[in-house]
Structures are given as structure tokens and as C-alpha cells.
Symmetry: C2
Subunit: 120 residues, 2 copies
DNA sequence: TGATAGTATAGACTATACTCTATACTTTAA
DNA sequence: TTAAAGTATAGAGTATAGTCTATACTATCA
């Protein structure tokens, strides 16, 4: 698919997608058979990647962290064990973020409880 | 406590604390009895507030979102019901962030599963 | 075949959240 | 009493992550 469709599929603006592509978070390929243009084609795997990037960003991961993860995942010089290790580390970070969210949530729920009990 | 201790207690740099105070996320009070300086004093409630801010930031909430929450919480013109509503909305946002984190986590765990099964 | 819409690249601009520097004043311990 | 450390304020500088503009080329449909 071309960039417009990629934008529609992911809900990310064309400008931002190009910014991400420049940042090397993913890349499209121009069809070598077509000499008249260098329009880039993006496949389903790019859509999946971007959905992951989107989710990771919304919960506070930076582009540089996301890039580091993707880079090691697709690094041919990394052993499977090494890749698994990198990903497992990221999973731990996610767990600690979930914990943090739960703490903030409890803090808010507790504040509600206190204010409602004072109401009596 | 003075700003240095506040910094030690929260793990946030003095510079950043001042930036937050300017942003009106909290405020210290200068002792009116002491005329020789205008050193600001911060109490335990400020420490708690900053810990909340820190946690909220780490999971992707912006300073402006955090400020909006604090502002309505301490807004004397808001009814208790209104405050509870605002906080409950934030709790929903937290729940959806937790969900997103779990999705990204499953995505990563699944990637590990796939790469390890290919290894055989 | 020409108007319209789409694509690529480069570079300027912006918002957010710090981070640092300069300056001036205050406190404290030697 | 003075040197060192701490505090306040203002403003400049930086990093991250977009967002927009200009320019040029390409595709498609009436």
C-alpha cells in the first residue's frame, strides 16, 4: 500500500509517518520495476509495527527506546537468546509501568473515597 | 523542608522542581515571620504530590493533563460530585493505558514464542 | 491533455519538558 | 568575618517529537 493508505490504516498522519520512517522505525520499498516514480510500498508488517509503536508511545516509551527494541529484534548478528533477553527486559519495564499505573489509580480512588466520606 | 531536601526526597532535580512550581503543579510557602529571606518551605503533602506527578509522567501523562487534574481537585468552586467525575475519568484513562501495556506485552511475549519455536 | 490529487525530499517551525547559566542575595560553619 | 554552600529569579539553550511549507515530480480521470 502507499503512504496514504498506511496513514488511514494506522491513524497516523502522513507527515508523522515520514518522520518515523526517517527515524528508521520502519521502511517502505520502492518497486524497482517501476522506473517512472519512487513511490514507496508498505506491507502488512509495517502496519503491525506502527500499531505497536503507537501503543508503546501512548504508555510513555520514547521513540529511541522503541527503535532500540526494533533494531535488536531485526539485527541479524544477534543470537536468538540475545533477542529474547532484550525483549524480556522490555517486558519487565512494561510490568513496572503497569504497577505504576495501578499505584496512581489507587491514589486517585483513595482520594475519591476520602472526599466522599468527608461529605457526610 | 527546603528545596534541596525536597529534591532528595523525590529524586527530582532542583531545577526541575522549580520548573514544576512555576508550572503551578504545587507551591511552597515562604515563612512570613522570617523577613531576611524568601526561602520556600515544602511540606509532606508536596512530596506526595510530586510522587504522583512522577508516576503519572512515567506512564505517559503530560504535565498539562496532570495540572488539569490537580487544578480541579483543589478547585473550591467545584462540587464534590464534579471532582469525583473528573477523577473517575482519569481512572478510566489509566485503565485503558493498562490495557495498552498488556497488549504490547502480549505482542512481545508472542514474538518470543515464535522466534523460540522457529529455533527447533 | 490538462486539472486535480498523490508522492518525495528538504528544511523551517513549533510545543513540551526540561536543563543550564547568570546574577544576586542569604545562611552557616571555620 | 569571610569562604562555601544554599536559595530565588529570569532568561537562554537543548532534546524530543512532531507539524508545516515549499518545491518538484507522478498518476489518473474527465
Amino acid at each position: 500500500m502507499l503512504i496514504k493508505e498506511l496513514s488511514n490504516r494506522t491513524g497516523i498522519s502522513i507527515h508523522t509517518l515520514r518522520f518515523y520512517e526517517n527515524y528508521s522505525l520502519f521502511r517502505g520499498v520502492s518497486d524497482e520495476n517501476i522506473k517512472t516514480n519512487n513511490y514507496k510500498d508498505y506491507d502488512e508488517s509495517v502496519v503491525e509495527k506502527i500499531k505497536m509503536i503507537k501503543g508503546a508511545k501512548e504508555v510513555g516509551f520514547t521513540l529511541s527506546e522503541i527503535k532500540a527494541l526494533l533494531d535488536s529484534w531485526y539485527n541479524e548478528h544477534f543470537s536468538i537468546d540475545k533477542k529474547v533477553e532484550v525483549v524480556n527486559n522490555k517486558v519487565s519495564e512494561i510490568d513496572s509501568k503497569i504497577l505504576k499505573l495501578k499505584q496512581v489509580k489507587n491514589l486517585l480512588l483513595n482520594a475519591i473515597k476520602v472526599i466522599e466520606s468527608e461529605d457526610c
